[in-house]
Symmetry: none
Subunit: 301 residues, 2 copies
DNA sequence: GCTATAATGTTAGAAAGCTGTCAATTTATG
DNA sequence: CATAAATTGACAGCTTTCTAACATTATAGC
């Protein structure tokens, strides 16, 4: 699990560790030799195809020898071509965007093998993917259901329990009749015995620590309760049982692997539900707040 | 250049030779065995990441043996995993793998008035700022304390209650003696009466809906309990009472304003604590998990 | 509960990919 | 045009990736 050590890229000269593949290639064009220029140009023109290449295929296409490709990669600061590919995978790159300067600055400030800088890249990459999910029709369907269904249950076990709890808690501010499905009773009758077409379920699941989610999903399916599953890439039963399955990116840099991404996705889901419900929510929130104040003796500002 | 020969796929049964990778994988789910389903699901969830994988890495991630991956690819009509990748290239080969490009695409939608696109930019900006916070010495001090103090309490009220709950829940996996401070008892004696120098408090607070946090902070201060405060820019008492104050960026695009950012910051804090504690945590997690299994009748994989 | 069959893992060896050494070629410089 | 330096390719050996044969485990039928 925790063996990864990709933060110390082997760069003899200790130069820019944080530049993107694209930037390195562009930079190299200035000083590169003929063969190297050919390789760099090909790579730049085919960045999207690179992951499919290997030193050999690339050498053949560009018309240079295999070792030259390897050497060129070294001159860019990678140990081998494979490492260049790996970097391609999640590096956000150096394109100018809203926060570009700030991000660049942050990266520059942390030159030598900063775990956080790398981690930040991964998180941004994950965020982009999560937002892409929010554009699918499954997403819209789930949002609509979660906004309109009379009852909503959220469930998650072990490491995902906190997530489910959080989600249920926040959703309660947006709409009534939300609860956390609890294993406390030993069964899940409150969900499974709900009247037909009255309830739906949001299930948080991640591999490794619990299979309760699977059996709950099975039973819910039997009871014809729609399931929105938020999981990682290792779930092998989601396609069969869930109505929508949102797969969060799984990274191996953070201890919590996908939990952070689940939180982001959960928040985005809540936000979408809010948009679906419209401003009436604001009123509800004030009511809830007022109630809270009445019982604790405190009021909002 | 013209060497590709993907039209004569070796398919014993002579079935559909033209289907896309995705379609084949989906089809296979119907008849697949357990191991195969696991592979197919992982592939479907990670189509974008596949080009970077190799049989071995894939097998490791999915939890099957290398030959099983190869055999599965054959059952789909490819000679080997590499051929499946090659096919992928033709089908979605010109889709951007680079997260940066996808982000660019997303941002272009921003100009067309896509709310999500704007929101993504704000979230990325916020994320960068949160990572900046993680570089301060206050952060390190808080992390150290949260890793070593005998008891840790987390608290949050109203909209931040879920956050505190989540944080406490996750932290329990990392270390013992973590609890959520609850308003249920009407006072907070479990925190405030803790022996000197034995407890610390993580407080989530955001403007508007509760002032309980303020009075709890006051009392904790009196009792000499160190406070780590996570809040938004509107908190005007944090500097007086808290030992560390982490201010998450507040945006006005999302309904939840700063809650999403709090979740990110909380996750980052958990991750830092994990790093501080070291790998011993892994053991603890397995123990907790095993206990869970003993009581629910389920075990991890 | 036993046997036959299918599914999956293990091991070992073949194939492909990568790098180091050294020789051939090109380029730079006088 | 000659020579030195840099660049590049060819080949060999090492590593990784993949496959084929066999062993083991799970599943289904009786």
């Amino acid at each position: 699990m925790l063996e990864s050590c990709q933060f110390m890229k082997q760069d003899a000269k200790g130069k820019e560790m944080t530049e993107s593949v694209r930037a390195r290639l562009s930079d190299s064009l200035v000083t590169a030799t003929n063969a190297e220029k050919a390789i760099a140009n090909y790579m730049l023109a085919n960045l999207n195809g690179l992951p499919f290449e290997t030193s050999a295929t690339l050498a053949a296409k560009v018309g240079v020898s295999e070792p030259t490709v390897g050497r060129f990669c070294r001159s860019l600061g990678y140990a081998r071509f494979k490492d260049l590919k790996a970097d391609l995978r999640d590096n956000i790159g150096d394109r100018p965007w809203l926060v570009g300067d700030r991000l660049k600055e942050f990266r520059e400030r942390n030159l030598e093998g900063d775990m956080l800088a790398r981690s930040l890249d991964l998180e941004i990459a994950a965020l982009v993917r999560i937002y892409e999910i929010a554009h699918t029709k499954e997403w819209k369907r789930a949002v609509k259901r979660l906004a309109t269904m009379p009852k909503v249950f959220a469930a998650g076990f072990q490491t995902e329990r906190g997530m489910a709890q959080y989600f249920a808690n926040q959703l309660q501010y947006l709409r009534p009749d939300v609860s956390l499905a609890d294993v406390a009773g030993g069964n899940f009758h409150e969900i499974l015995m709900a009247p037909p077409k009255s309830a739906c379920l949001v299930l948080f699941e991640a591999r490794r620590y619990s299979q309760l989610a699977l059996s709950l999903a099975r039973e819910a399916r039997k009871a014809k309760i729609p399931i929105t599953l938020i999981t990682d890439a290792f779930c092998d039963w989601g396609h069969d049982l869930a109505d929508e399955m949102f797969v969060v990116p799984t990274e191996f840099d953070m201890f919590w692997e996908s939990t952070a991404q689940m939180a982001s996705l959960g928040n985005l889901l809540l936000n979408s539900i809010f948009n679906e419900l419209g401003v009436s929510v604001e009123k509800r929130m004030n009511n809830v707040s007022e109630l809270h104040g009445r019982f604790t003796g405190y009021v909002g500002e």
